[in-house]
């Protein structure tokens, strides 16, 4: 009997697709991160404002922590810039020939934008 066609997460992740595959995976992860943030925000607001529950405040403390905020800022910036890159390639398929260059260009935009934002956030956090 033949082995199943199923491809596990580990087997898929081991495929060496390079930068574009990493960008695709990060697009999914960052999308999930944004959904998590919005969900937590809605739940915390509801619990705090409608129920007067302390659980809402606890969730607030979690998603307003510097670590979570740094993660969410990365998610938002990456998802936005990568999404823009995909839209451009979708509208002008002839540019797909330069997809590797477009991935590099994307990181040239994301990294300074993120590092500058993270620097300001961390400086404010350390200043109390």
């Amino acid at each position: 009997m033949a082995l199943s066609r199923k491809v596990g997460l580990l087997a898929g992740a081991k495929y060496k697709g390079g930068g574009p595959m990493l960008a695709w995976a990060l697009h999914r992860i960052s999308g999930l991160g944004i959904i998590l943030f919005v969900t937590l925000h809605v739940i915390a607001s509801f619990l705090t404002q409608q129920m007067g529950s302390d659980l809402g405040i606890s969730i607030n403390i979690f998603y307003e922590s510097i670590y979570f905020q740094l993660f969410i800022v990365f998610c938002a910036i990456f998802h936005g810039v990568n999404g823009f890159r995909i839209i451009v390639l979708d509208i002008w398929p002839r540019l797909i020939r330069y997809q590797k260059e477009s991935t590099w260009l994307e990181w040239f935009v994301i990294l300074p934008l993120y590092l500058l934002t993270a620097f300001i956030m961390i400086r404010r956090f350390l200043a109390g």
Partner: protein, 234 residues
């Protein structure tokens, strides 16, 4: 130089699970990975199963994963690998029948589903159906496909759902959709506009990188997406 090959093994008559066997052999930098597999089969383990036919990058029989990426075994030289430790595995997303041999039938089912043949109901002209060089150029890139399945089996969308027609079928549809002499573009576009058609492509680009014929696979898919969105082939 000495090269070590770690090869995926599965014998349906003996094994319940996959395992890896390691072979060490002498190789020249200009040897192809296919040469190494032939030498192992000839001198070390005659039970090793893999496909090959022309051995010159034309028939597309020997698509396998070499060090984690889809390639034709007959087109990769030892010196291109940049390492002496080589991991050889079957392509992903198709049932493994034995060692490096996969069942290609699901792949060919998708290929057949996009009507990969010329359709023109007009009476044939006396000599030939004429086409300008510009019209021929429009689909030149996608005529090069050799149906090796390297692109389709490198696609995470296909790994997740085998119903997705896959890059290769779309490339072969592109070859006829943009052929000015063909008359079935609308039917093919309708097929590719279905749930498991072109919109399963998430521009991951593994297919373009894996293609041994350097076809701009993702661009071809993008052109079909655009044709569907615009409702015209211009």
């Amino acid at each position: 130089m000495q090269v070590t090959l770690k090869i995926f093994r599965y014998n349906p008559e003996e094994d319940r699970k996959k395992h890896y066997d390691t072979f060490t052999l002498e190789a020249e930098p200009t040897d192809r990975v296919l040469d190494l597999l032939e030498r192992i089969k000839g001198n070390q383990d005659g039970t090793l199963g893999f496909r090959r036919a022309c051995a010159h990058g034309v028939c597309g029989s020997d698509a396998i994963r070499i060090n984690g990426v889809n390639r034709l075994a007959c087109k990769v030289l030892v010196q291109d690998l940049k390492t002496r430790q080589v991991v050889i595995e079957p392509i992903l997303g198709l049932p493994v029948e034995k060692d490096l041999i996969v069942d290609m039938e699901p792949f060919f089912d998708h290929y057949r589903s996009v009507m990969p043949y010329f359709v023109n109901d007009d009476p044939p002209p006396a000599k030939e159906r004429l086409q300008s060089p510009e019209e021929r150029e429009r689909f030149d890139d996608t005529t090069k496909c050799i149906l090796c399945a390297a692109c389709t089996t490198s696609c995470p969308s296909f790994w997740v759902n085998g119903k997705y027609v896959g890059p290769s079928a779309i490339v072969n549809a592109h070859r006829f959709i943009f052929d000015s002499r063909d008359q079935a573009a609308a039917e093919r576009l309708e097929i590719l506009n279905e749930q498991f058609g072109v919109y399963r492509c998430h521009t991951i680009f593994n297919c373009t990188d894996a293609c041994p014929r350097d076809i701009q696979v993702t661009q071809a898919i993008g052109e079909i997406k655009k044709a569907l969105a615009k409702g015209s082939l211009d």
